[in-house]
């Protein structure tokens, strides 16, 4: 793809800097002149939202870490002291805790957008796989962060999840002891979780840089799934994408603020305000809402090892989607059958989430098995088969045609191509 303009330093200092470290031209080509398809809809704004959310999590997290005590005897009380005695500590903690939920919500929207519009297809496989790696890292980070307040759910979630490793044949028990740093979840476990919870966000940040780099090599997908063919098909990132991203980001923050300021504990569990007690098991151990679909899959399988394998596969299978989907058409807009199966899949995931919050008994188990089966069938059977059978609708010849109709374009596009020269 062609850029819209090339950065030329104007001032003396910028010329001097450009010759030594061309950092501003990197920023310019990535976030100002970067050509972005003109037909991107609002589902494309979540990548930007996620970047900002990551920064918010890191900044609030660093300040929280200044006041938190990673010790089984003090962790719970130190979190409470943050809420009571640190200036705006309640705000920091709620922004961070609700922020985790918002992060997962935005990530899931981002992921389903990719599934709907076929954003994983060539040449974006590496971009997609990096995204799956970010999701895995997020899951690990979020889980360890949930353990830190050392409430009942923290403790028992840590116990349940670390125990999953005991399903590994031969070395399982040894691995679990090694993870715990002892013979049960205890102070060494809390300490290492704290250390890793501080480390992993920076690993995520690193992979995000790779993710954005890969994105800027292959360019963004778009709702038609047709690659941009001319300058008419794209607009420069600034002002077009920046203003659009900013608008939806602020709308997203309204949702975020709604939870932070008005119902900060809605997304949590009351039991996590009970200090961890190894001798009392909660009636129902449930993870945070964003893990519920995976938790339902884990519990749907009667065999522990197989359950763990399915749990891991449920995430890992996403990395293979670029090759499981055999269709040559990217966007579901032109795939009448896939579009329906996509929405069924969304419903299945929501259903699994709901089942994950229920006790594993009676009809819940049966439904969890049905939906788990569908989850995997969607990827293993439906995606490959649809590509072979489905008759896609005809694709537009270009993005501009899809936006303006066959005759649209030229005069408007000139303005779009060089907005900085507009009067």
């Amino acid at each position: 793809m062609n850029g819209h303009s090339v950065y030329e330093p104007q001032s003396g200092f910028m010329k001097w800097l450009e010759a030594r470290l061309p950092i501003w031209s990197l920023v310019h080509s990535s976030f100002i002149a970067y050509p972005t398809p003109r037909n991107l809809n609002y589902w494309w704004t979540f990548g930007g939202i996620l970047s900002v959310l990551l920064v918010i999590q890191i900044v609030t997290g660093i300040v929280l870490a200044m006041h938190y005590t990673p010790h089984v005897d003090y962790a719970f009380n130190s979190v409470d002291a943050i809420m009571r005695d640190v200036n705006y500590g309640w705000l920091l903690r709620y922004v961070h805790a609700v922020g985790a939920s918002m992060f997962f919500f935005a990530a899931y929207v981002h992921l389903f957008r990719g599934l709907y519009y076929g954003s994983y297809k060539a040449p974006r496989e590496v971009l997609w796989i990096l995204g799956v790696i970010i999701l895995l890292l997020m899951i690990a980070t979020g889980f360890m962060g949930y353990v830190l307040p050392w409430g009942q759910m923290s403790f028992w979630a840590a116990t349940v999840i670390t125990n999953l490793f005991s399903a590994i044949p031969l070395f399982g028990e040894a691995i679990v002891t090694w993870l715990w740093g002892g013979y049960s979840v205890g102070n060494p476990t809390l300490n290492r979780f704290y250390s890793l919870h501080y480390l992993l966000p920076f690993v995520i940040l690193g992979v995000v840089v790779l993710h954005v780099w890969a994105l800027h090599v292959v360019g963004q997908n778009n709702p038609t799934g047709v690659e941009p063919k001319s300058q008419q098909d794209t607009v420069p990132f600034t002002p077009y994408a920046t203003i659009k991203d900013s608008f939806l980001m602020v709308c997203f923050f309204i949702l975020y603020a709604w939870f932070v300021f008005y119902m900060p504990n809605y997304l949590g569990h009351p039991d996590n305000y009970v200090p961890a007690n190894p001798s009392v098991t909660p009636t129902h151990i449930v993870p945070e809402w964003y893990y519920l679909p995976f938790y339902a899959i884990l519990r749907a399988i009667p065999n522990k090892l197989l359950g763990v394998v399915m749990l891991v596969s449920a995430i890992a299978i996403l990395a293979f989607v670029p090759w499981l989907d055999t269709s040559r058409v990217r966007s579901a807009t032109y795939r009448p059958l896939y579009k329906q199966f996509f929405w069924i899949f969304v419903v299945v995931c929501i259903g699994l989430g709901w089942l994950g919050s229920k006790p594993a008994e009676g009809s819940y188990v049966l439904w969890a098995r049905v939906l788990t089966a569908w989850y995997f069938l969607h990827f293993l059977i439906i995606l490959p088969a649809l590509g072979l059978w489905e008759r896609p609708r005809p694709l537009p010849t270009s993005i501009t045609e899809a936006v303006l109709g066959p005759k649209g374009g030229a005069p408007v596009a000139r303005g779009a191509a060089a907005p900085e020269r507009r009067g």
Binding site: R84, Y240, V250, A257, Y262, G408, V412, G415, A416
Partner: protein, 280 residues
């Protein structure tokens, strides 16, 4: 248009699936919903109610339950009970606090000061259990540590109505939920009492508030079980979430800023994109 229809269809399907999967709900005792001064986006604590609630805590609950994460100085919170500094000092002085070690290396007792945390009646859970049979939970964040499951579809409506007082509703209901004689066929374990709202119904705590006039009210509020329960529940909500009033107040300001900013950005975006055409 088509995308919108399929989305609407998906939502309808999800709702249908959820109601299909839910087995018929056993009729539980759902705590009745109370009206609280601190609910909703403009909620604030009722100072007189918190002061009455504190009185109930001090004279009844505090005999067993600790409040160890709070300091006496917290009672002066203008958004909370709002006691004067002199009142706080007087309240603190009524408690005995262990301090030390002194120059002789010994711990000693002295009257409490506003900066002290509320002392616990029992040195640890084991001592409490030995004395009472069960360890009474600390009450500092109890109102956030209790609740009951709302179930589908109520948990979705709650997001919009901001209903999040399950904890206090439960506590208020539980305090009034004792029954002298358990229903037929219910066998209570030794040393437990029947409570309509307590999960499992067998509660280790004997009915703490019963008779009218047990705690003296001086502001004309009826001194009965219903008011005791509500007042002490409200006090516990404040104890668990003292920042609630400031949080909601700041929230309103943040919301106004965000909504205005979103409006401005929307029209700016429209203006910028009007040059390109053909885009929503």
């Amino acid at each position: 248009m088509g995308a919108f229809r399929s989305k609407a269809l998906a939502i309808a399907m999800a709702a249908g699936l959820l109601s299909l999967m839910a087995p018929a709900r056993a009729e539980d005792n759902i705590p009745p919903r109370q009206s609280w001064s601190f609910s909703g986006p403009f909620g604030i604590y009722d100072r007189a109610q918190l002061q009455r609630g504190f009185k109930v805590y001090r004279e009844v609950c505090g005999n067993c339950h600790s409040l160890k994460l709070l300091s006496f100085r917290d009672l002066a919170d203008p958004n909370g009970p709002g006691f004067s500094p002199a009142q706080v000092a007087a309240i603190a002085a009524e408690y005995k606090v262990t301090d030390g070690p002194n120059d002789q290396g010994e711990m000693f007792e002295r009257p409490g000061r506003p900066a002290d945390h509320f002392p616990s009646r029992y040195p640890n859970d084991q001592a409490a259990r030995a004395a009472l049979g069960v360890a009474p939970p600390d009450m500092s964040v109890l109102a956030k540590a209790r609740g009951y499951e709302r179930g589908f579809p109520w948990f979705i409506f709650d997001v919009f109505t901001q209903y999040q007082e399950q904890g206090v509703d439960y506590i208020a209901a539980m305090l009034q939920g004792y029954e002298e004689t358990p229903p037929q066929g219910v066998n209570l374990p030794q040393g437990t009492y029947y409570n309509k709202y307590f999960p499992g119904h067998a509660i280790g705590m004997p009915q703490p508030l019963a008779s009218n006039g047990q705690v003296e009210y001086t502001d004309g509020t009826p001194a009965d079980l219903q008011h005791y329960s509500q007042d002490v529940s409200a006090f516990l909500m404040w104890a668990a979430e003292p920042s609630l009033v400031r949080r909601k107040r700041l929230g309103l300001q943040v919301m106004i800023v965000l909504i205005v900013l979103a409006g401005l950005l929307y029209f700016t975006k429209k203006q910028v994109w009007s040059q390109v055409g053909g885009h929503a």
